[in-house]
Structure formats: C-alpha cells, structure tokens
Symmetry: C3
Subunit: 398 residues, 3 copies
C-alpha cells in the first residue's frame, strides 16, 4: 500500500497548481514553471504507485486517441500505457485509411474523435513548420467544439513529438536526470552536452535536441549544443534556450566541436539529426510528389552526414568528460557502431556501459504522459490521486 514516500509526494503535489486544467501540453517553453514542476512530481508519484502495485485508474471509462503521422514504437507504447494506468482505453486514428489534413478537415476530424475522449496524443514531426501548427489547429478546433457544446468535455492535446519540441521525451529525460543526480536542485551548474552524432540514416527530426536544450537550460544547467556546420536548430527553440538560461542562471552556447562540448561534461546526449534545409526541402518535395528528387535529396543528405563520421561518442570522447564518467543519454534507438550499423552515433563499449541507464531513461515516459493527462483533465489532480490511493485498490488483485 501507500508507503511514506508516496504520502510525502502526494503532499508536495497538492501544493502545486499545474494551471493547465482543460488545456494542452504542446511546447515546454510555453508552460509555466509550476506546470513543469507538477508534471515531474506527478510522474514520480505515478511511478511510485506502479512500483507499489497501487492502481491509479482515475477514469472509469473514456478514450485516449492517438494520431501518429510518423512511425513510433516507444512513444506509442508510452502513450498507451500512460492512458491505461489512468483507466483510458486507447484508439488510434489510422491516417493511411482516413487522410486528415488542414482547414475544415482538421476541424471536423478533431470533433469526430473527441465526443468521448479525454486526450488526443499527436506525433507530427517530419515536416518543418507543420507539426506544431497542426497541433495548434486541432486544439483550436477542440476549443470551438467545446465552447459550442458539440463535445461534452475538452480533450487535452498532448504533443508526442512535433517539428519544434518533443516534450514527453525531454520531460522523461529530466525525470531521469533528477533521479540520477538526486534532485532537481543538484542539476544547477551541471554541464550538459547535447551534440550531433553521425548516423548513416537521413531525415531524423530536430525536436529531441530542441526539446532538451530548452528544458535543461531552464533548470540552471550549463548547456552546450554541439554540431557540425549546417546542422543548426530552429530559431524559436534556440531563442527559448537562450532566454531560459538567462532566467535560470544557467548558460547556453553553441559550438562546432564535439570535443569542446564533451570537455568536462557531466551529461552527454550525442544524437543524429538532419540539417534544416534537408527537412525543408523534403517537405517541399513530398508536397510536390517529386519521388526522383526525394531520392536524390536522400543521397545528398547521406553524403553530407558521411563527412562527419568523426562525430562519434567513443571511449576517447567519453574520456574528456568529468572524471571520464559523464552520464550518457539517448532517446533510443541509438545507432551503435558495429551493432546496428557499420559506423554510428556511439561505440559499442560506450553504449553497453550506458545501456540499462538509457532503458531507465525511457521508463519515465509512460508516467510523464499520464502526468500530463492528470494535469490537463483534473481540476484537483492531487485530490483525485489521493482518493485512488486511499481506496486501496491494487493493479493486480490478490
């Protein structure tokens, strides 16, 4: 049953006003500090409950809808199990059989999948300038439908990765850092190197690095973003990271050298992403249905990446970090040299040492999703959780 840590966490949670009841969770940099704090605290509490076998099924019925406009294993599972742990049945809008786009189609589809839904999770990360815009459009459609009495409750839109941010990932990453370093207060002043790394694949979204630098700078960390020339992140998150660092007393800078980023780092997050011009050009070519040119672009992008195979997180690179023992992070799956590809983001020995830690990092995601649902769908989320815990119902009976 509820142990002292759960009771204490519940008290802390009750003291925070998430402030997003009937709202959405789209970009961390648009959320107030209390919201971030609430989601982190609630995710920890939900994970503690799961470990203690306590049921947190706060919904007796209701749907969690998802729309995946890009493939996903890890985030899909996180969304579904996050929904399930609160009692929501999940369904997915199959876009291949039911195409949805912009304008009236979005407004209508948003209403059609909202009648009995509590949350709509969306992944739309492949096209620069589109994913976030699409989510905002869905949210506005839901607002209208709720205001006009078309739907009885306003489902939350939860960003499962867009072109700008990947908040369930970055918040899970932050939970992992808090767990690893023993509290959010210990993150202040720690150096985090978010760097590009070589991968023999093409067109990976920019939202993970963008999400990480903005959120970690906000925690007072010394964030260094490292990448080869031409692999810049988008302007909005870069500006958000700079502003966050200034506000938090942390720092944020960009370097063109992996070694510079790694020097003395407490945490490293080496990961491939595509140049923005590649993402933009691909968006254009996909819209224009230029298959031949898309193939050409892929070849060009791969050749481009191949000029930077030295951006690999190997033992030599790790030796530069604090005491040679920085925490290695990755959103998974990593491209591991000699394992999943000939040359990749990380050497086999570095990854093998960090492997279980990256699984733990991922293990926070279902609870982050559930915490976001809790924050958006309950007027008094801590009270609701307190009731569930007090009822003594277990996840597995007997």
């Amino acid at each position: 049953m509820a142990n002292p840590s759960i009771t204490a966490n519940l008290e802390r949670l009750a003291a925070i006003d998430a402030g997003i009841h009937n709202g959405d969770f789209l970009l961390t940099w648009e959320q107030r500090d209390a919201t971030i704090q609430f989601v982190l605290q609630a995710a920890e509490l939900l994970q503690d409950c799961a470990r203690a076998g306590i049921s947190t099924r706060l919904f007796d019925s209701g749907l969690g809808m998802s729309i995946f406009r890009d493939k996903s294993t890890r985030t899909r599972y996180a969304f579904r199990s996050g929904c399930n742990t609160l009692g929501l049945m999940t369904e997915e809008l199959d876009e291949s059989t039911s195409q949805i786009a912009h304008g009236e189609t979005v407004r209508e589809t948003a209403a059609m999948i909202a009648f009995l839904s509590e949350v709509i999770g969306i992944r739309d990360d492949m096209f620069l300038g589109e994913g976030h815009k699409y989510m905002v459009e869905v949210a506005a459609s839901l607002d209208e439908s709720y205001r006009e009495g078309v739907i009885a409750q306003r489902p939350a839109v939860v960003n499962l990765q867009c072109d700008l941010d990947h908040p369930t990932q970055s918040m899970a990453d932050l939970r992992h850092l808090i767990d690893t370093f023993g509290g959010v207060e210990h993150l202040r002043g720690k150096k985090l190197a978010m760097t590009w790394a070589y991968s023999p694949s093409y067109g990976k979204p920019l939202s993970v690095p963008q999400g990480v630098v903005t959120l970690m700078a906000r925690m007072g960390m010394d964030v260094v973003l490292g990448h080869p020339e031409g692999y810049d992140l988008a302007d909005e998150p870069l500006a958000a990271a700079r502003a966050a660092a200034q506000a938090s007393g942390g720092s944020f800078r960009v370097t063109g050298s992996m070694a510079d980023a790694f020097d003395g780092a407490d945490i490293v997050y080496p990961k491939s992403w595509a140049p923005m011009w590649v993402m933009r050009e691909r968006t254009r070519l996909v819209h224009a249905r230029e298959q031949a040119k898309l193939h050409e672009l892929e070849q060009q992008a791969l050749a481009n990446n191949a000029r930077h195979t030295d951006w690999e997180c190997d033992d030599a690179m790790m030796a530069r970090t604090r005491d040679g023992r920085a925490l290695y992070m990755h959103c998974l799956p990593a491209d591991i040299t000699g394992v999943s590809c000939k040359a990749g983001e990380v050497s086999k020995t570095v990854f093998e040492r960090a492997r279980l830690d990256t699984y733990r990092e991922a293990g926070h995601k279902p609870f982050i999703v559930a915490a976001m649902i809790l924050a958006t769908r309950f007027a008094q989320p801590a009270e609701a959780l307190r009731g569930a815990i007090a009822s003594g119902v277990m996840r597995r009976r007997g």
Copy 2:
C-alpha cells in the same frame, strides 16, 4: 449526479420493451416501433449521463469486435467509444491479413471472434447485394453456435453500414432532428428533402439516403427524394419508405429536380451517391479482378456525375426552403465547393453556417451504438442503467 431529466428519461425508458434481447440491429425497417423508440430514448439518456459525467460501464469485461470491409473514421470511432462507454474493450478483425468470405469461412470466423464478445459491428457497404446478406449470414452462424453451446452468449450483430441501410447514421440523424425540433412529435408533417448532390468522387454507397428516407417517412414526415435520372435507390428501401409513409400518415415521393425537393423544405440532406448500375458493375469487375475495366468504369462514372454539377446546395437553393432556413444535414465528410474540391455537394457559405450543427448530428452516433448494444445485450436494460446511475460512479473520479 443524476439530474431530474435523467431520472425522468429513465422512467420513460423503463416503460418501453425493446424486444430485441439476444437479437441484432441490421435494418431499421425490420425493427418494431418500440425498438426504434427504445434506442432513441436510451441514446438520449446515455448522452445525458456522459454530459453529467456519470459512468455507464455496465460490462465489467467483454469485447466489442468490429469488421470494417470499407474504410471508416467516424463510424469506427462511434463504435469504439459506444463500446467503451459501456465497458467493452474493442478489437478489430483485420481482413487484409485474415481474409473472410462466405460459407464455411463466415460460419467459422463468426464463432472464432464470438467466444467472449458481446457485439460484432460490421461495415460492408461497397457491393450491392452483398453487405446485408453477409451480416445475415454472420447472425445465422452466431445463432447456430449459441444454440449448440459453442459460445456462452450470443453477441449482437450491429450494422455499421451495409448496401441497404446505415442505421447508426439514420438513427443519429433522427436523434438530431428530435433535439433540433424539440421532440419526435414535432417532426410530423415536416418536409425533408433527401437529395443527390454532385461530387467529383465515385462509388459512394446508397445506404445513407436509403436509411434516411425509410426512417424519416416512418416518423410521419413528408419525405421527398430527389436525384437525376439514373441515380435511383434500391427497390427494398424504396418499398419500405412507401409503406412507412402510408402507415405513419407521412408521405414519400421521388422527384428529378433538386429545386422541387428543396421548395419549402424544413430539412435538407444533399449528398452524393453512385448509380446502382455502377455499384453492380463494380461488384462484378472486382470479383473478376478486371483492373483495367475498373479504371474505365471509374472514368465513366465520374463523367456521368459531371453532367450534374448543378446539383449543388448553394445559397440560391437554400433560399427556396422554408423561410430560407432549412436545417442542413450531412453524414460527413461533405464535399465542399472551394474547400475540399473545386465543385462539390455544398457551397462554402452554406456549409459554414451549418458546420457545427453537422458536428452535433454526428455526436449522437456513439450513443446510438451504445443504445443498440444495451437493447440487444440486456434483458432489463433500464434496470441495468438505473443501477449504474444509482451507484454514483463517475466517468472521471475526484
């Protein structure tokens, strides 16, 4: 909790004997008046409960299976959320990986997906002369399996659109009319124009107009079916509509002029459908796997439609209706001129005024599905609902 309207509705519901316990819901014109009345009343009550946040999870476990032999977003969501609101987990038989057909295959598959199922929702609307027959075959197979002790309970077959009828749509449409006009008794004598409308697409099923004219004629309405030459509906629903009008004191006639249908109408339902000979020929060509001829047929059908682009519901056409303000209905998605296509079923201005109303119309469907499950799976459905409401369990706790 339960408000006076819910209590009053519950009393009304308890007074109606649905009469289809352990049965199916396939065609409205095969159902007795009391059954139609029960489903309408139950759907209203279930929607009231959802709006009041009252849980109606009457099943502690059990499956709602669906078989979609044609793509679907709206009806699929309606089926799944209707099941969920009663506590059923949904699963879909994937026909692309597990082909099912007629004869032994149907009998066997019906048993295989029935062992712990309470309802099997089927969409099979693309081939004239096949969809309804298939559902009857599934129902007969379930009868046999139940009689012979192969399955412990007899799942209801719910028609999610066949070649003859689309009862979850027409019943949701009727719920919308009752809501809009303030009671079923106010529908008597109202003029409803169910008309063909131009669309640049091909092969839309006839089941929506067939379902609407038969059900609305039964409600004592003056139903006018309008379409260009060659776009006749099937004989069985036409005969059913005539018989229903005669029995109810309403009327039913067919016209070849959209203007005639719209003149003085209280309600208009302009919507594209395919000529029967196109549907029949397509059925034949699909079975014969004649790809080239299928393409030819599509071209011919589109050219055929294109001769009637003047069948558009625009402001001029709407001006003909009662006070120029008829209720516009559509099963969605509509083909909107200048929005989803160059020229379509409805002009942008007409649709924009009606838009939220068409969403409300669609919003009845999940509750119609749930009401059909209630009617078929419970010996004393009103008592079961009364118990759920009295228990005080809410959809969202705390």
Copy 3:
C-alpha cells in the same frame, strides 16, 4: 453466481502449485506436470465462470502486449479475449512500422514494451530455428531488465506459436479431449493419429503436429504420427514425444501410411505442414531476399505436396477408425475439399459432421491463454480467483 462445480474446481486448483510465478510459458515439454495440470484446471474454471457470467477481472489496469510475426485471426482473438477476461488492455507491436530483430534491438524493444505490461504474447512460427530462440531472447532481456530495476514487474512471455511448439493450441486441444472423453484419466490408452494431410498451400508451420504429439504422448495416449516421406518433424519435439510416451506409459511411433495411423484410432488430427527442408530453404532465401528463388521454391513445394493428394481425411479413411467414429480434430481453418479448395485435407462430409466440435475445440483457447497469465503473474492464483468469485461482480451488470 458460483455454482458447486465452480467451488469444487476452485478447491482442486488451490491444491496445485503451478510453479511458474514470474516465469514464461514457451514449450510444454519444458513445463512440469503440475504446471500443465494447473493451466488445464484454471482454464476449465475460467470457462465455467464466463458461462456463469462471473467476472474474473483480476487486473485493475495493465497491458497485454502481442507481437505477431505471422498473420493470425484465431490466436490473436484468443490472446486478446484471454487478456480482457482478466482485465488487461491489449496492444500490438506493429512490426511492419517498427522492425525488431535480434541482439540489442530485442533487448531494447523488450524493455520498451514492458514498463507497465503483465504479459507479452509472441507468434514467430515461420522460420525454423528462429521462433523459439527469439522468445528465449525476449525472456532473457526481460529477466535482465527486471533484475536491474528497469521494469517494476516481470511480464510473462507466452508462446503464441513458434517453430517448435504451439502450446496454446495443444493445451486447448487437450482441454477439448478431456471434455469430450470425460476426464484426463480416460485419455490413457486412447489411440491418437496425428497425420499429415494434403493441402494446395505451402509453408504451413510444423508446430501444431509437434505440439500435439509431445503433449498427448505425455497423457499416456498411444500417439501415431503419420506423414509421407520427407515431411519429418524436428528432432527436439520428436525426442520429447518419445521420452514423454516412455514416462507416461503411453506410446509414440511414426508411420508412412495414413491408413495405418487411422486404423482403430479414437482421435484423428489430419493436417498439412511443410517439409523441414522447405522451411529451412525459405528462411535462407528470405534472409537473402531472393524473391525469384522464393517463387521457385513455392512452386516446387506445391508440386511436392501434390504427389500426396491421397492423404485426405474422407469417409473411407474415417471408416478405419474405432467404430468408424473417431473424434476429428483441427486447429482451423481446415482446407476442405470442394469448399475452400478443389482438393484438401478433409472431405466435405467428414468436416461437416465434425464442424461444431472443431469450433468447441477452438473455444478453449482464450481460457488457456488466461490460465497461462494467471499461472505466471499471480503468486497465489487460486486465492485471487476465489476473491473475484466471492465479490459477486458479474461480467454484465443488472
């Protein structure tokens, strides 16, 4: 509510120590007798509860994940409804969009889909030497993740058909035999003919015959395996069947004649499977992506089968069995001569007589799956069930 048979079954169940708490169910011949006995007894009890309308929802939340590396209708439904009857929501890992393989990919994916899961059902039956190995690898990955605190509970791996065994099928078959002959003790000394039969299809797995001969020989039955030259089963299950027969006092022999196998048989199980060399060669060609050679192999395999069209279970063959009335078994769907194909495994008249019995046979599978989950996920499964039954909650309320 609970009838005397349920109460008595509960007592019998409480007396058996399944011995696989926190374990897996992969191959029947690796399981102790008590485990087999527990699963059979629990499946019977769960089916009795379902027939009495008693809810056995022991999980308040939690996921049942499935991975199907081959198509499936019957086993997929059995897995999902088995999970549902215990309260687990099901999700499927979509391998077409999220490729999983061996090594690090398996270890990582296993962790990613385990965070809040209670069971992972896997079908991987197409490639000789791979399916079972894959499941063992998943199980080992889960062990590591559980040991290292990555996941809070150890989901059971349940074999939904591998290259060696198909335990949910063979255990359902055994439940059917127990029901039909009135008790496991009446199976001793009965002759069961598991024979190859002609089918105009190619590449059917060997796991059904392998699962049946090993499990039935263990029950003291006289098992005769019959097949044309070249259609031998794999060594491991053959050795397991021989050892089981010796230990149980039953017998196991192989014959090249269908007539010999059928002579005086109490039970016949005629079913097509592929020669091992075809399965091996296909595995090799698939890995090498040799499409043309795969097509050639298929043609060759079909021609090979076609030399044995006389291996059909027709009336003449059935006349050889005990009193001409052996129990006909099949895992479904059967290839029925003149129904699903021109010439197949079984004649129309033989199948028609046995048809409903084969449905009953299949009807045990959902409860076998649920019983395996019960055995692996509960420390005191009988106590847990006793609590659920005593609570008086019904599957359908009111």
